[in-house]
């Protein structure tokens, strides 16, 4: 069954078209990497899935149910959680309250406080601290943990590795592997393509709001990727999507 399906969605900011008739399917348990340069439309794509923005045209389906008109909190209840770009923690709240607030929908599943602390042992020691005083890596772990607390079946991650040291990025991606082992579907948006492609079993590359390259990561050549990424004369190995 298709877990998530976008059917020819478009999105605009004023006159600027950020997504152009984009279609997408993600199966249960898949790890999809969405890559693309600055301003390619990656975050906009996620906002249509998380419900922060409604597409101007097209529909969004989740488990074959049309969720296009649902608000973000209603989609969390259905099992879609977003770790937003820039983390957006509750800076004045403690780490533990940040995590707890992720559980406000009371969806059942494997994730609770203990499981999150086990996944990220280094934030357990900081549970009483205000989230604002944590390091970047700790904050990112809390942001992922908060999303997990809603026991999502689809987890959306926007630029998880942005501004973090390589060792920390490796730890976070190792944690993502453990999350998918629980059956969670992942959609990973990255500019740091190495990590994302290594983790994913399918990848799409966005350019100016459309899919310009897609396929299993190991079938995509470096050259095709960099051409799709930067948009210079698209080579023969890339196929423009629908």
């Amino acid at each position: 069954m298709t877990h998530l399906r976008l059917d020819r969605v478009t999105a605009y900011y004023g006159h600027l078209q950020a997504l152009q008739e984009l279609s997408l399917e993600v199966d249960q348990g898949e790890i999809l990497a969405v890559i693309g340069a600055n301003g390619a439309g990656k975050s906009t794509l996620l906002s249509l899935i998380s419900g922060e923005q409604a597409p101007r045209e097209g529909r969004v389906f989740f488990d074959d149910i049309d969720i296009t008109s649902l608000a973000p909190h209603q989609r969390v209840r259905k099992g879609i959680a977003l770790v937003p770009e820039g983390r957006h923690l509750f800076g004045t709240l403690s780490v533990e309250d940040n995590l707890r607030s992720g559980a406000s929908t009371r969806r059942r599943g494997t994730w609770d406080l203990d499981a999150v602390y086990e996944l990220f042992p280094f934030i357990a020691a900081r549970r009483k601290h205000r989230a604002a005083v944590l390091s970047g890596g700790e904050q990112q772990a809390v942001a992922i943990g908060r999303a997990l607390m809603s026991n999502p079946s689809l987890l959306l991650l926007d630029e998880v590795s942005l501004g973090l040291a390589p060792v920390i990025i490796r730890d976070l991606y190792a944690a993502l592997q453990r999350i998918t082992a629980e059956g969670t579907t992942l959609l990973v948006v990255e500019q740091n393509i190495t990590e994302a492609l290594a983790a994913a079993n399918y990848a799409i590359c966005l350019l100016e709001g459309r899919v310009v390259l897609e396929g299993k990561p190991d079938t995509l050549s470096q050259r095709a990727i960099s051409q799709a990424y930067f948009g210079h004369d698209l080579g023969p190995s890339s196929k423009a999507a629908s």
Partner: protein
Amino acid sequence: MIWLNAVVQGLLLGGLYAIFACGLSLMFGVMRLVNLAHGDIGVLAAYFSIILIEHLGGNPLWTFAAVVPVAALVGYFLQRFLFDRALDGGELSPLLVTFGLSIVIENLLQQTFGANDQSLNIGALSYQSWKIATDVYVGRLNVIIFVIAVIVIVGLQLFLSKTRTGLALRATADNRRAASLSGINPKRTRSIATAIALATVAIGGLFLAMRTSFAPTSGSSDLLFAFEAVIIGGLGNLWGTLIGGIALGIAQTVGSQINAADGILIGDLVFLAILAFRPQGLVGLKSEVAR
């Protein structure tokens, strides 16, 4: 002794200001909305109590049980059907809408009850007092108001820190976007905040009406004092609001002791001084460990 007396009376008065202020502060924190009708709603609650006593009789104290739940209910739906729409309309519309509501309430009260002063007569309680030192007497009602104020603030603090709904309110106050991404229903959260705000300001309105006389336009000065208490104490901090209310109360009573007509002016000056020299308020927490 007259100074001690002034400080004690100011402290007690500050409790009342804190009751008025906590709802204003909560609504501002959760939705960045300054409710300019806040004081008028307190006065409206007092008139509601007067109507109840006229028709049903008894000591006004019982009307708390009716007025406060009604205020909470009204708050819930006022948010849903008026304030939420105003919030969607940009920066200015919440101010315009709540200012309009303030005018509507004042005019409605003028029309219905006239401009005369009224008060809620609670019998002997209004003049009984305790002697706590030579020449220092505290009115029983004032002590009761202060104790209730502390209970309201402590209760609200516990509610915010210990319950799921309280967590949702704090999260929404901190980051609205992240709150809805965490599955918190923003409409419901805002409605609960306004329900609490109206319930508390109704308590304040009734106490004020028992303490002094009031008129349809009394709401504006109540709003001003509440606003000053919030700023003096520090935004987004209930203990701060209590401290702010007390500081304002003491400034006013000590000011009146210096010169009978200057009490409120001195309160305003303290408020301005805080705004100028300590804009984060008296209780501006900045510790590593979360509250």
